[in-house]
């Protein structure tokens, strides 16, 4: 794979067969990509609408991106502008309560889960999926992080608080220890059944029925306690990218499967903090050959419906993007046109410079 062959763009109607292929390969009930073609088509249509919406963005928009490698779709990722848009967005918040009895001379720190709506209205990162063959490459970085640069460029459409749900522990049969200990007690049905019954509607439909008193973790069976904040293995890659980005995973967990919900503030995320704008300049001698000063960057053409993101070797010491750079040719950029760039290697990341491939 050549990193410069990767291109992230908004989903198009013609991508339906490719998305069906990705959905079929993804793990059941864990990836938020529906397998039903009709539902997939709806997702695409909603995304087309979202990207096309001019200035009256309502918060209801869901955006879907696809990642191409040399023209072939190999992954997708999405954004929901506002969590729980029409309704409330439920999470469990980890809280520690200190119980004290002076009479017994005991103070005890108790872990509790509080049903909350803290993340209602936050922007959600969704629908991350990449073909397994690309997991060990830089492609997932582009697929996940380019969304943040899109949000930054169109900040008026999004919340400054960004969150992402991550799948919790469950086995191949769909048994989920957290659900079995908590949700099942109130619904007397399987996790999968509950999801099916809610019919893809907002989870608040079910969450409204959950008890509002805090759950004392010590009272749960051990396997359920262990599952709190634990990731399903399929979630490790997208989770690790978000963690390196500066998302925080200790506060919220999913009310159904106990998986960690990460949160961050847009301006505090490393990719966003490191963004600089670069304009297309004139030809310079170092243009084509990536020299010692060149480093891999995520580059974005900051439009909305014509948003594009890719990877490129750029010399950040240069005041402008040389007009002879292959990116200019590939994206047909013109003189003085602005692009956003953010270093692929984040602050604190130990990967070596220039080893993107």
């Amino acid at each position: 794979m050549n990193p410069t062959d990767l291109l992230l763009r908004p989903v198009a109607a013609a991508d339906l067969p490719a998305l069906e292929r990705l959905a079929a390969a993804s793990v059941d009930a864990i990836n938020s990509l529906p397998k039903d073609p009709a539902k997939l088509r709806l997702r695409i249509e909603r995304s087309l609408d979202a990207f096309a919406t001019e200035d009256d963005a309502s918060g209801e928009e869901t955006y879907l991106f696809v990642l191409e490698d040399a023209g072939r779709v190999v992954g997708c990722s999405g954004i929901a502008a506002s969590a729980g848009f029409h309704d409330r967005f439920y999470s469990y918040r980890n809280e520690f309560v200190v119980h004290a009895s002076p009479g017994l001379g005991v103070t005890q720190r108790m872990h509790t889960l509080h049903l909350c709506h803290d993340l209602t209205g936050a922007t959600l990162l969704t629908s991350f999926y990449i073909e397994p063959g690309y997991e060990q490459t830089v492609a997932p970085q582009l697929l996940s992080r380019a969304r943040l640069l899109f949000i930054r460029r169109h900040a008026e459409r999004f919340n400054a608080r960004i969150a992402a749900e991550n799948p919790g522990l469950s086995d191949v049969g769909g048994a989920c220890p957290f659900w079995d200990a908590v949700g099942r007690r109130f619904f007397a049905m399987d996790y999968a059944q509950a999801e099916a019954v809610s019919g893809g509607r907002s989870k608040s439909f079910i969450a409204d029925l959950m008890p509002h008193a805090p759950v004392y973790v010590a009272l749960l069976p051990e396997d359920a306690q262990w599952a709190i904040g634990q990731l399903h293995p399929v979630g490790e890659l997208p989770f690790s990218i978000l963690q390196a980005e500066g998302f925080e995973a200790d506060t919220y967990v999913d009310i159904f499967d106990g998986g960690p919900t990460v949160v961050g503030t847009l301006e505090g995320l490393h990719s966003v903090r490191a963004v600089t704008a670069l304009r297309v300049g004139t030809e310079t001698p170092q243009a084509e050959a990536a020299g010692a000063g060149a480093d891999w960057h995520i580059v974005c053409a900051p439009g909305r419906a014509d948003f594009r993101a890719s990877l490129a070797l750029l010399d950040t010491a240069a005041p402008a993007l040389p007009s002879g750079h292959e990116l200019v040719r590939r994206w047909q950029l013109t003189y003085d046109q602005e692009i956003d760039i953010s270093p692929l290697r984040l602050a604190g990341d130990r990967r070596k410079r220039g080893t993107a491939a």
Binding site: G103, Q108, I206, A213, A218
Partner: protein, 253 residues
């Protein structure tokens, strides 16, 4: 059978104090003869004049030290769309019984032939001589297994207090549950989140209280959804909640 009444510590006969040393009350605890304000002893004497059974009448519980119980309630989870209608038991820490009269430290000598009849006589005497405005309550022991462990405690209390509940009870006496309550959740607890054994133990009477339970039932006492917070044993109640609005009840100073 003769029944004596002792209202002051000074009046307690040595024979009674001595008997108490070998008795345990209906909760399985040793008995301290000391009387507090508003309390007195009723002691049943056998034909030979020896103490055979006793009870402590307490005019108002929880005035000096707050007393806690669990109120066993119900929560409904219903959704017409999901065709779901589920009722669940709940536990809420409460001081509901504060100010009620209490019959405590009920004990019968192990040598007594018909303990249930003796208890009935003793309780009947107490009820004939006292007509409190509000309720009269009695705590009964919860169930325990062969080795003395309470399934209710195993399912709930031990997660909040790591020590031995029985040892702590003996050490702290009537204040034990007050101290324990400080460590328990203040919010509603959904019973299905406790283990099955703990759920089944709620409101169930242990061996130590069986005879007493029958005698109390015959006198009209009934379980109305209050249980002990350590072993889940029931509180049985007689009479109505005082007409006085619960909000304005205050301790006599």
């Amino acid at each position: 059978m003769k029944i004596d009444r002792y209202a002051t510590n000074a009046a307690l006969p040595a024979s009674f104090v001595q008997s108490l040393g070998g008795w345990t009350n209906q909760l399985g605890e040793p008995i301290d003869p000391e009387l507090a304000a508003g309390e007195y002893w009723l002691v049943a004497l056998d034909m030979a004049g020896s103490p055979a059974a006793c009870l402590r009448w307490r005019a108002a519980l929880g005035w000096d030290t707050p007393r806690y119980h669990y109120h066993v309630g119900r929560a409904v989870h219903a959704s017409a769309e999901l065709r779901l209608f589920q009722t669940q038991a709940t536990l809420l820490l409460c001081n509901d019984l504060t100010g009620d009269a209490e019959i405590a430290d009920i004990a019968v000598d192990a040598a007594v032939d018909e303990p249930q009849r003796v208890l009935a006589d003793l309780i009947g005497f107490a009820l004939r001589h006292h007509h409190p405005a509000g309720r009269i309550v009695v705590e009964l022991q919860g169930i325990r297994n062969e080795v003395g462990e309470s399934p209710f405690w195993q399912g709930l209390g031990r997660h909040f207090y790591a020590g031995d509940d029985r040892a702590a009870r003996l050490r702290h006496g009537v204040k034990w549950t007050t101290h324990l309550a400080a460590l328990l959740p203040r919010q509603l607890l959904h019973v299905p989140l406790l283990g099955d054994d703990a759920q089944r133990a709620i409101g169930k009477v242990g061996a130590q209280s069986k005879d007493l339970q029958r005698a109390l039932a015959a006198a009209g006492f009934e379980y109305r959804g209050h249980v002990r917070i350590d072993d889940g044993g029931p509180v049985v109640e007689l009479g109505r909640l005082s007409d006085i609005d619960g909000n304005v009840v205050s301790a006599p100073l």
